[in-house]
Each structure stands twice: as structure tokens, then as C-alpha cells.
Amino acid sequence: MTRRTLAFFVCSPHSRTGVTTAARLLTDYYLWRNVGVEGFDTDVREPVYALFFPERTRVADLSDVKGQISLFDRLLVADERPKIVDVCHRSYERLFTTIAEIGFLEETRRQGVEPVVLFQTDATQSAANGALVLKTTWPDLTMSVIHNRGASPLGQDSLAVLARYPPSGKFVIPRLEAPVARALDDVGLSLSALMSDAPPANSFAVRNTLKSWLLPIFTQFQSFELRLELQSGKCLG
């Protein structure tokens, strides 16, 4: 059975909601499983995601057609290597406008590529509206929301806020205590390596806390991936 190649768009129309963290976690999840993965950073001003994975990411300037080619033409290659796009808030509109203009989503199905939008939640109504617009525009698009409790807490009414988003899958990234969260800023820290064999440079407490934090996140990614494979199996027979 042919497996569809996954193309993830981790996105938010707003800044500082945890998009890069989610893209990094997803990338490390695949690396932890020894799955080759390719990353794309759409933030040409501050390509932080690319700093974490310099060997396997490229920066794509979506305001330029050549940048669009370097992203979308590559995403359409069905090589079973997951592709992860960190869509910064500055590139959000441009990305989805281009997707519509060039008919990208229609082509993915023909090429055996499964696009997946991972929409980063925040407490604003405009973010929820953005997710609804995407789902209305492309009803067949696989979409899940990511609730990062540390980077973008939803407050007391989190359930009510989440209810504004399209009914779809949900990932929860738990909050980390500040000292441990600061350790994440180290671009030399590989979360996949940490899960496999903890680098001795980190303190025991930090290592253990990070592992405990990562495990449920990676488990959610794994469940999601399995669910997609099952759906894919139904589709492809």
C-alpha cells in the first residue's frame, strides 16, 4: 500500500503563540523515530526554526515567487518524507493566498501528498475566525488545533475558546516551568537526542522534566499519525 507523504503547515495569524515550538516538536518527533524529515521556515527576518535544524531546513521567502517555488514544488514531491512548514504570522496570509492562487491543495491529492494544517490557538476571536475561514474554504483539509498552554494560555474559559475553532483534532502542549523552558531556547539542544540518550550537558532535573514533558506530546503526534494512516488506508485500499 502506498503511503501518502505528509505536509504539515504549523501556523497562526498571530505572533508568539508557539508556532516554532510546535514545528520543532513535530520535527524532533520524527527524528526520534528515525524518520527523515524536511523543514521549511517562512520567517525570513527571524528564522528561528531553521536555527534548530540547520541541516534539514530551508528558509522560504513567500513574498518572492522563487521562494514559493522552493517551498511548494518541494512539498509536492511524494517521497514519504514528512515535510514541516513553520508558517510565521508575517507569512500567514501570503501562504494561504498562494495556496489558493496556484491550486496547491488540489494538486496534493493528485500527487499522493496529504496536507495537514496544525493551527495554533490563542485567546483572540480573530485566530478562531482564521481557522474557520480555512476550514470553510477547504472543507476536506485535514486540520488540528494546537493548544500550547505555556506560550499561548487560553485562560479560565479555555473550553469556550476552543469551542470557537472548527471541530477537529486537538494537541495539547503542557506548560513548562520557566527555568526548564529557558533550556529549550538553546539551539544546540536536540529534543530527539534527549529522548534517545540524554546529553550529559543538561542537568538531571532538566533532562527528566523535559522527557516527562515530551513524552505525552510525542504520544499525541504518534496517535495522530496512526489515525491518518488508517484513513489513508481506507482511501487507498
Binding site: 515567487v65 522563487k66 514559493q68 517555488i69 511548494f72 514544488d73 509536492l76 498562494t98 492562487e101 496556484i102 491550486g103 496547491f104 488540489e106 494538486e107
Partner: protein, 278 residues
Amino acid sequence: MAKKPVKITKGAPAKGEPASQGRTAEAPVAASSAAVRPAVIVVGADKGGVGKTTIARAILDFLSLNDIHARAFDTETPRGTLHRFHPDETMIVDLTEPSDQMKIIDTLNTSQAKVSVIDVRAGGLSPALQALDEIGFFDAVKSGEFRFVLLHVIGSSISSLEEIAEIAPYVADANYFMVKNHVNDTTFFEWDPQTHAKYFEDVVTSGEITIPKLSELAYEQVELSGAPFSTFIANQDAQGRPAEHSFVLRGYVRTWLARVADEFERVGLLDLVGEKRR
């Protein structure tokens, strides 16, 4: 070699331009008779660099996508640009030469192609219309023997408006459209209303056609490929072999061509050439 274009999925409608600013005639009624009268579409301008051949290429694609057999004449002698993109259906001619006029006009009724597209070289529109007038073509149009559509591609400068007075005597019985071509730039056509009105005193237009902008890189790549737009979209080279054109660029060209087709449909081009969509 025959190149089969892809069918175009219609995209979003073209960005709205205001309705014709000149006096607008009622759209001529399409023939209802079974016998289809041959149609001639002239694409021209006296000003150079306004994109006449691009429009002619888009028309050939549009007709082909609607299963309408068309032929084309390129007056850019000796080496025609239109011929480069559509070699199979294009003949290079000199419209001022009687022998070439015969190749076009005398074969209108006998050719299998019931639509003939003439791409007039820069500076050649007025002489071409004059030549057609001298051989009695416009009388034949008036008597209903042929259909005639003139697409006058205009630039944003005032000199384009000055051309209108020169061609006015020849367009009385034509379906005369002004074409604002934005394919290579974003120049905004904004003439002073009084100036505009002055130039349109003596001419009746059937409407305006607006050609939207196409990404420069996409346009360049189609140029380099030397293939029709629809062939480029289908990811084929000029010989119809599989190519490796960027999907992004093909996507831009597909959307652009769909918008251009929307414009041609909006003005009823298929009806005007006597062909309904099949």
C-alpha cells in the same frame, strides 16, 4: 504535433474593472442559423509593446480549450512571435500583400477552421484595416458574409487613445473591444474623463476586456518554453513531451488563463464567433 491543452478549472473571477467608459453598443446577436459564418478576430494596436501577441496566444488557447478549430495569421514578418508559440496553426503573412490577403480572405469559407485570428504587428493596425477595407472585407461583414471582431490592445498612454480616431472608420460594423493588458505591469489606466470622452466621440465599442497581471517569472518561463499557455500548464514542452516546469509557475499561469477566459466569456466571445461552448 498536436498539443492537447488541459481543461482549465475556472478560478476566481477577474478583478472587476469599471464597465466600458466609451459608448457601448448592444452586443451583436449571434447567428442562429446552422451554417456557421466564418469569423475573423483581429488583434492589434499601433503602439508597440502593449502585448498584442500575448492576447492572440490567449485567444488561441481559449478557443482550443472550447474545442473550436482556429487558425492564425502572424503579420510580424519575417519571423513571427505568434508562429513561434503556435506553429501548427499559424501562418506568417504580410497583410499589405494581395497574395497574402488572398490566403486569408479567399479561404475563409473553405477552411475547416471557422475562426481566423490575425495578430497584427506593432504599427500595422491602421494599414491592415485599410487594406481589408480596400478589398471589400468590411462590406462583406456588413452584408453578413463574415463575422468580425476587433480587439484593440491599448496601452496606458494617451497615444493609445489617439489610435482610436484612426481606426474609427473601420469599426462601425465590428464587434470592437478595447483590451487593457496588465499582463506585464500594473499600470493603472486612468484617463481624464473629458479627454477619454473626446476620443470616443466617433467610435462605438462593444466593451472592454481586462487582461490581469501574470507573475513575471511565470510569464518568462512560458516565453522560454516556447509553448502555448495551456501546454505549459499541462507540464509539456513545445513538442508535447513531458516537461519539468515548476508547479507554482504552472499554477499561476493556470489561474491567469482561467481569468482571461472569464473575461472572454463575459464579453460573449464564443457567441460572437458563432460558436457555442460544446
